[in-house]
Symmetry: C2
Subunit: 188 residues, 2 copies
Amino acid sequence: MIGYPNKKKIVPKVNNYANLGMTLESDIDETNRYYRSKDIAIIHKKPTPIQVVNVSYPARNKAKIVEAYYRTPSTTDFNGIYKGKYIDFDAKETNSKTSFPLSNIHEHQINHLQDVKKHQGIAFLIIKWSQYDEHYIIFIDQIIEFWNGAKEKGRKSIPYQFFKDHCLVIPFNYQPRLDYLKIIDSLI
Amino acid sequence: MIGYPNKKKIVPKVNNYANLGMTLESDIDETNRYYRSKDIAIIHKKPTPIQVVNVSYPARNKAKIVEAYYRTPSTTDFNGIYKGKYIDFDAKETNSKTSFPLSNIHEHQINHLQDVKKHQGIAFLIIKWSQYDEHYIIFIDQIIEFWNGAKEKGRKSIPYQFFKDHCLVIPFNYQPRLDYLKIIDSLI
């Protein structure tokens, strides 16, 4: 059976999805830090949206949040500027060997990336295939075909073969860790 | 006396800084919603960065954050894309009648806006002068002169007169509430 990625749960076995998710995010964070330090691009991760319900003030100048909940992000996780272009993307991971489930993407994220594209920004996802340890960039136009197909024909995923045939692998190195702008460079 | 535009709450006194700040933010949020709905620009406020320390799971699928703290933002509050250009700004409010204190701006925000400018983005602050009920746009290049002056000559603020002489007032209307892109338009 295919093991679907579930970043929220803590599972007491070898594949700790929470950590894998963290690794992808921290690989991108480290890459962005490198880009900024070398003056290549200014790209940041947005903070996780949290709904604060209750705050206490145990000490002066130090508000302590005592009740809060995670909210669904209204956009993607990463954005910024590269060579004067607006860049916007999210990062997803799958443990499948055969297909990337579209249920991993929220509809508002798709809409947001389409809006970005329409306004001449560069909009994409970074997909990590954990089983192959490969990272691909897939652009919003490519995703949309499958997304619309999912609605019309009941297709629920993007085959791994599509990535092999139509997407570029992001080089994984020591520095920068995950050089996704190298792929973007081939386009602009 | 000037009637302050304050539609959201009933405040029993005139100067409530926290609430005034909320109003400025909600005016910008509403403006951004308008821009998005009319397909004019895709600009969002970033979530407030929060350091989560402790989470409990009182019910399935509903993580409850029980200990967390506000963190200092590493960038500005707002960014996005307009006419293919990357836009990045923060919003500040002052109750002074004579000068905007530079202590209202964090050094990392100045550095971030300078980086954005260097990479061909549009970087600025929206400053609300509560006493005059005026909103100005001041660009990073203009701020920098005062910022460097603050270091060299001990100047700690930007005079109101500078805004009157060198900055443009943002129109305040019913819709869009705070049409700051009209000012940006005169530049690009």
